[in-house]
Structure formats: C-alpha cells, structure tokens
Symmetry: C2
DNA sequence: TATGAAAGTCGCTAACC
DNA sequence: GGTTAGCGACTTTCATA
C-alpha cells in the first residue's frame, strides 16, 4: 500500500458534515477545537505548543477536523454597533400552515434579507425564530412590518434586545 | 491633491471599543471586514490581493480595525451535533422583578452554565431570551427544569429548535 | 497509524520611501 | 499606500515506534 491518498480514518470519515453521528475525539482533538473556538487565528505552532505535540501532527489534526465537518470555518467577530447596526431583535413568526412548501418558501424569503442573520424552525409547527439586525428604530419598524407582509405569515412577535450579557460562540468542551 | 499621506481618518480614533459611535470606514476597510467575517484565517497577503493593496498597509488596516474594537476576535465555527450537542433551544424567561440587582443576578447565574451560550435582555422589563445547547432530550428537560428553579424566575417558555436554515455570523456589509 | 525532525517555501512585519 | 528585507511560521518529506 503505497498510495498515501487511500489512508482511512474510520472515526472521522463517517457521515457527511451535519450527519449527526457523534464522533470520538481524543483529548488533544478536543483541546484543539476548544483553543480554535477561542482564538481562531492562533498559529499552528502555538496550538501545537499548547496541546503538547509538535507542529506537523497538530496541523494534520486540524485538517482532519475540517474535513470531518467538525470545524466548519473561521470567522472574524465584529462589533455590530460600531459598524452601524445598533439594534438587534428576535422575531417569533407564526405561519398559517405547516406544509413543507410553505415553510421552505418562508425560509427562502428571509434568507434573501441581509438583515436576517439567523432563522430557526421551532418545535410545534409553523413557527420560526429569526434574529435580525437593524440600523435604527425606523429601520427596525420597517423590518417588523415587512415580516408581517411575507406570504403565509399570520403572527409576528418582536423581541427587541436591550442588552446582550453573554454571547459565546461554539459549544462547551 | 497629490500628497497621498495626508488623508485623514478621524472616525476610527473616536471612542473606546463598545462606545457605540458609528464609525466611517472606506470601501477597503469594509471589504477587509467582510472578507474576514467570511474567512477569518485568510492570510494577510491574500486579503491584500483581494482588496487591491499591498500586504503592509493591509495589515495596518486590520490592526487598526482590531484596536478600534470593530474586529473583536477570530473564532472557529464548529458543528455542534458532531461534537455531541445535538439539541439547541431558546428559552424566554420572565423574572418577577425588574430591579437591577435581580436582573444582574440572573445574568450572573446563567453565565455560569456552560450550556447557556447567549443571554439577551428583552425590551419590556424582566424578560430574557437565552440560547442553550443540550446533549439529548433528557438533558434538555433537565436544563428547562433548572431554569425554572433559578431565583426570581417566574416563567419559562422553551422554544426547541428543529432546524436551523440560516446562521450567518456578523453583520451585513 | 500515529509522531517527530529537518528543510524549503511562504507569509508576516518592521523600517523606510 | 508601496518596497525591501529579515525573520518566523507553515507544510511537505521522510524516518521512526
């Protein structure tokens, strides 16, 4: 077996990203994920130093975590207010139907709005929780009104964020 | 106007991070923030190439954006399910009082829970929206019950996420 | 199937224009 | 904002357990 591309990695290869299978990671893998959740720009040598291994195997582990879909990407965290988006609101949306086509049409519609940052389907049928950002109060009112005008929307409850005391990316490790 | 060094950028100097003032960024700054929101591990040379400037001024801009608090940090985005956190829920919490000490005690309490990832105070007084992750249904039930037992909590409405169709970090640019 | 050492390449970043 | 240049990090290759 000379072909290096055919190496198999059973635990990490299983399932497409998002498949949902729980994958066994050793303590070093977990530490790598944890460190990169906190500081995504940490250099590989620093990451290797912290995890107690040398740089090449550390880099290989990061690559594998990316290929397995466990690490999906790296993003800069920005200050929304300083960029002109001073308001954040959540909206609880009720749809008149739980037909798949109606739900998907709603998701497709709000995905087109740049102000909509998250869209979660909520248990119980026909409900969504969406997170939006707005430039000011007028903009926020406009967005709320536009939400009520999306086809099949029968209920919009806005939850305006006054203060965010906690905003942790990622998951516990 | 030939002297290219005399350009002024008063906006970036104003205010401490989090101050809330809207800051004027030129088109290159915006592009830098946008690119780093999408790919926080992009090399500085690549970032410079995309923005049409050379590497050193590009790096200086990134540093300034960090110092101004516009870029707060960099984080790996992980797949919660693949790491064993297969459930996400939001909870709308009602407190019996809007006294500052009560609100802060609640925030301090949930900040101690690793499963609580976000905590937002909602307009109207005494209400919070928190986002949690859970390992399974039993864990989720436990968390919901524990939320009702936090001092001064009088109402807990759980919104269990079935599907997340959109999850965009950052803000529109 | 993993790590670790060595080396070449590339990016980062200070100093200067 | 650009250019140069020195330094350090990244990443491949190969030997090893």
């Amino acid at each position: 077996m000379i072909d290096r591309d055919s190496e198999d990695r059973p635990a990490l290869q299983r399932g497409a990203p998002g498949g949902g299978a729980v994958i066994e990671l050793d303590v070093i893998d977990r530490q790598i994920v944890d460190e990169l959740q906190r500081d995504g720009r940490m250099t590989n040598v620093e990451l290797a130093r912290r995890t107690g291994i040398s740089a090449p195997p550390c880099l290989r582990r990061v690559r594998r975590l990316e290929e397995a879909g466990i690490i999906r990407g790296f993003h800069a965290e920005v200050d929304a207010s300083l960029l002109g988006w001073s308001l954040m609101l959540f909206a609880l949306i009720g749809l008149e139907s739980q037909k798949g086509s109606v739900l998907e049409a709603f998701e497709a519609e709000v995905a087109e709005w740049p102000e909509v940052r998250e869209c979660h389907m909520i248990r119980g049928g026909g409900d969504f929780l969406v997170r939006l950002v707005a430039r000011d109060a007028a903009h926020q009112n406009l967005l709320t009104r536009r939400l009520t005008e999306v086809p099949h929307v029968v209920r919009v409850q806005t939850l305006q964020t006054i203060r965010t005391s906690l905003d942790r990316a990622g998951v516990p490790l």
